[in-house]
């Protein structure tokens, strides 16, 4: 529970989480296939464009997904969602007065390649106000979901942008206990990969849980020593 983020008060368990040892149920997980995805699924600039292009800063976001031992995580499903350039979400429950962009949907998805690499193209999201306190604003952010090799690696997080002054005032970013961990959610400007007269680029790497090694005993059925 993190009371500064008010919704967490009634939605956080009061009991401690239990920690049984992993079984086959936790080390396996869903497998996703390229044929589930469409050609423009990772291009948020074009995947909802109707009569023209969406308005806003054109961005490329790219990076690597690795496990905690540094091994690339290939074939992971990366799903992203975000507000438009004005901070408005295309969601029936969002009533913020900034307008919907008719050419921007705000979601995309992709699989990491054999190096754990992903890339997508989008419009930079705007900050938006929310009712946590009388004057609370989220920093610009992109939500990111990762489904990798094992169920125990399932992760949802948020990507922030280098230099945004709202990050340090955000009660959601502040639910993370260490400043180094908060910094690991900040995508960095990557000007050497900008596309001149087209798009700027940000780099964002993700680290997932690694498979715990079993050195001296091996009780997962069938796994080799």
């Amino acid at each position: 529970m993190t009371p500064g983020y008010k919704t967490s008060i009634l939605r956080s368990p009061r009991q401690a989480l239990l920690s049984p040892r992993n079984t086959l149920s936790e080390i396996t997980g869903p497998v996703f296939n390229g044929k589930d995805l469409g050609a423009k699924d990772n291009d948020l600039i074009l995947n909802f464009a109707k009569a023209g292009l969406p308005i806003g800063e054109r961005l490329i976001v790219h990076g690597y997904v690795r496990d905690e031992f540094g091994n690339p995580v290939s074939g992971a499903l990366v799903e992203v969602w975000q507000a438009n350039a004005g901070g408005r979400y295309r969601h029936k429950n969002d009533q913020y007065l900034a307008p919907i962009d008719p050419n921007f949907g705000g979601c995309g998805r992709m699989l990491t390649d054999h190096n754990g690499y992903y890339v997508f193209r989008t419009i930079k999201p705007g900050p938006y106000p929310w009712a946590n306190s009388a004057n609370a604003w989220r920093p610009a952010h992109i939500h990111m979901s990762l489904s990798a090799d094992g169920w125990a690696q399932r992760l949802i997080t948020q990507l922030y942008f280098e230099g945004d002054p709202l990050i340090e005032r955000c009660p959601i970013a502040a639910t993370i206990p260490s400043i180094d961990q908060v910094r690991s959610l900040i995508a960095h400007e990557d000007p050497s990969n900008d596309v001149p007269f087209d798009a700027r680029t940000y780099r964002f790497d993700v680290t997932l849980r690694g498979r715990r090694a079993t050195f001296f005993e091996n009780t997962i059925p069938g796994a080799s020593r």
Binding site: Q15, S19, E26, D41, Y89, S184, R209, G222
Partner: protein, 220 residues
């Protein structure tokens, strides 16, 4: 590779910190269930129906609600499930059990709770028992993860079935819950209606004013 080499190689490896979790937020549907958010964007959408005509096994419908500490349904929750097939085999390369994969059953599904009622539903099959570490057997179960506004890190739990009394009693995870009065929070209740088998599974994030007990959650 022998044990000594493996030990040396892995114990000297640099460990990088895991990327921290953040809440999925109230608009999690935009990315994970865009049709529920109110728009069409992908040709193929992930959903809560895990079965096709060819899937082997007993058809079941799982229904329930996620309930907060005031007793109110969490109407913006997003849930995913992961389960073995009817033979108790996961459709995954790391499952070494000598059982056959069902090519028409991937074992994964996703849904949002209904924005009005807070009810969620999955169409699936009842899974078979899965081997546990060593020579024990896990009772049939379905892994759940819950994301929502106000939940900073996805909550993991398991659904077990109330008509599997013997296997449940021997299940290493259930029987490992020290406070045995909490075990019943993981057991779904079976009922039949118009030829459909339902299991009801309500997930309580905290004890509720009506006397409902907080569901057991796992750090997996």
């Amino acid at each position: 590779m022998n044990v000594a080499h493996q030990f040396a190689a892995q114990s000297l490896a640099t460990r990088f910190p895991e990327t921290p979790s953040q809440t999925g937020g109230p608009y999690v549907h935009i990315g994970l269930a865009p049709q529920q958010a109110g728009f069409e964007i992908f040709e193929k959408n992930f959903d809560n129906n895990l079965v096709s005509n060819d899937t082997v096994g007993e058809r079941i419908t799982i229904e329930g609600r996620v309930i907060d500490g005031s007793g109110s349904p969490v109407r913006d929750a997003l849930l995913e499930i992961w389960q073995a097939n009817a033979a108790g085999k996961y459709s995954h390369h790391l499952d070494p059990q000598d059982k056959s994969v069902d090519p028409s059953f991937a074992g994964w599904g996703r849904t949002g709770a209904d924005f009005e009622s807070g009810v969620f539903e999955f169409q699936t099959i009842k899974p078979g028992p899965v081997e546990h570490n060593g020579d024990r057997v896990q009772a049939p179960h379905i892994c759940f993860v819950i994301f929502a506004r106000g939940i900073n890190i996805g909550l993991h739990t398991r659904l077990y079935f109330d008509d599997e009394t013997e296997l449940n009693a021997a299940d290493p995870i259930l029987s490992g819950i020290e406070l045995h009065t909490r075990r019943s929070t993981l057991i779904a209740n079976r009922r039949s209606e118009n030829g459909t088998t339902f299991y009801t599974f309500d997930i309580r994030l905290q004890d509720t004013p009506d006397g409902g007990a907080e569901t057991v959650f796992f750090d997996i």
